[in-house]
């Protein structure tokens, strides 16, 4: 107990940060793919699919990620399914991210004006072609800020994987803090590392937005 921060602590934190990156990648790739399916299911022409997808989204969005992780990791073995911590974390993050991204993307797809759908329909484009060539390119522009906003939250939320035994960045910080009792120092270091992971993504979003934002509306009233 006690002592001061040394190189071992820092390498322990770095190791934790690697896990944070790994889990984030899993969450974003798995959740992104599944989220796309959820978004499409939410606007499916089949009523049953829409209702099912809506139920999924409501349920998952209402449950803390921690609980989802816990129930996947500890709740499945009694049912005869053994899961490794990595599998449990991957599955939970995918389930969770898919619900949110799916919902965000649905909103963006629906915000493309109805006339655009009609014009595409009038040209005899199939549903897939309408989606891919007319609606999605326009929806992506609207979707960039909320998607990035959520991605950044997910990077931080991977810390909940400590419940299934991962020692990622936040948990590594907690363990060191409990050895050193230096909360300010350690939590500021942890915050800086998170910032270093998240900020480039936020930046990227700005660049993308600026690129796509040709002819963007802007108030030009000069009076106050």
């Amino acid at each position: 107990m006690g002592g001061s921060l040394n190189a071992n602590h820092l390498s322990f934190l770095a190791h934790g940060a690697l896990w944070t990156v790994g889990l984030s990648l899993i969450a974003l790739i798995g959740g992104g793919l599944a989220g796309f399916v959820v978004a499409l299911a939410r606007i499916s022409p089949v009523r049953a699919v829409r209702i099912l997808a809506a139920g999924y989204v409501q349920l998952v969005q209402g449950t803390p990620l921690l609980v989802i992780m816990f129930l996947t990791f500890f709740g499945l073995p009694p049912l005869g399914i053994t899961v490794s911590p990595l599998a449990a974390a991957s599955v939970s993050l995918t389930i969770y991210v898919a619900a949110y991204l799916g919902e965000i993307w649905r909103g963006c797809i629906e915000s493309v004006p109805r006339q655009q759908w009609e014009a595409a329909e009038g040209l005899a484009l199939s549903r897939t072609q309408r989606m891919a060539k007319v609606i999605l390119p326009q929806a992506i522009r609207i979707a960039t800020p909320p998607t990035v906003g959520f991605m950044v939250q997910i990077i931080k939320n991977t810390s909940l994987a400590s419940v299934v035994g991962f020692v990622e960045l936040a948990r590594a910080g907690q363990i060191i803090n409990n050895a050193l009792f230096e909360p300010f120092l350690i939590y500021v270091i942890v915050a800086v590392v998170y910032f270093a992971l998240c900020y480039p993504i936020s930046r990227l979003s700005r660049v993308l937005e600026a690129q796509r934002g040709r002819g963007r509306a802007r108030l030009s009233v000069e009076t106050a």
């Binding site: 006690g2 002592g3 602590h9 816990f70 500890f74 009694p78 035994g165 907690q174 409990n178 009792f181």
Partner: protein, 238 residues
């Protein structure tokens, strides 16, 4: 049978929370250390086994055991009848001596002097349960998620007193020389035991034998003294 399985595998999976000093923590080279850690290492050595640490947080110690992700839990489990309905406990291998510690300068002699003081505890620990049960004493508790945060509360002045082990009370003065704490009011001692999944009588029996032997030969007392600064109660050592 769990015991046979362990012996066959030559490996024991032990679940210990590494973020609850001085029982489980990391040393300066980020190796597990602490009284529970050394107890586990002693057990493994005596039984000729290799240890596989199962990373756990406070909340997942028991589920790790129940879902067979760990063979035993050695992680400051204190025994209560409520908890004994869920897992089995061995006999006590150590005891938790806890106190209410306050500023050295504070005029605290007994429970009555704690009335309008904010007492920090670690949420869900036996100290928490014990003080929460003292409804008639009208204590002002504030609960933190772990010991480090509780200590921070005391160091920063968010709490006037803390209820924990004497070892941790002494930490505060080290962190902030302006706020030196000392033990003021003793709370009852709690037995700490090893947690075993229910329905494993052989494993429990073997562990009990091992604990009895090592209490007698003083090895468990030695570990305890090394990390907690005091000896185990005399009646345990005999």
């Amino acid at each position: 049978d769990q015991y046979d399985d362990i012996m066959k595998a030559k490996k024991i999976r032990i679940s210990t929370d590494m973020a609850i000093p001085p029982s489980g923590m990391m040393d300066s080279s980020m190796k597990p250390t602490g009284s529970d850690v050394e107890t586990a290492q002693l057990l493994a050595k005596d039984w000729g086994l290799e240890i596989e640490w199962v990373q756990t947080t406070g909340a997942t110690r028991i589920p790790n055991l129940q879902t067979n992700k760990a063979d035993v839990v050695i992680s400051t489990l204190s025994v209560t009848p409520e908890r004994a309905k869920v897992i089995d406990f061995t006999k006590a291998y150590a005891s938790l001596q806890s106190v209410v510690g306050c500023l050295k300068s504070a005029q605290v002699k007994g429970w009555d002097d704690l009335k309008d003081k904010t007492i920090a505890v670690s949420r869900g620990t036996t100290q928490d349960t014990e003080l929460s049960a003292m409804k008639d004493r009208a204590l002002k508790l504030s609960r933190y998620d772990d010991d480090a945060t509780m200590v921070t509360a005391a160091v920063s002045g968010q709490a006037d007193c803390i209820a924990t082990s004497a070892t941790i009370v002494n930490q505060i003065g080290v962190k902030n020389p302006n706020r030196v704490f000392e033990p003021k009011v003793p709370i009852r001692n709690f037995d700490l035991a090893i947690g075993v999944r229910q329905g494993e009588p052989k494993l429990k029996e073997k562990l009990n034998e091992w604990i009895t032997a090592n209490l007698k030969n003083g090895k468990l007392n030695e570990i305890y003294k090394k990390f907690h600064g005091t000896e185990l109660p005399a009646e345990m050592r005999s």
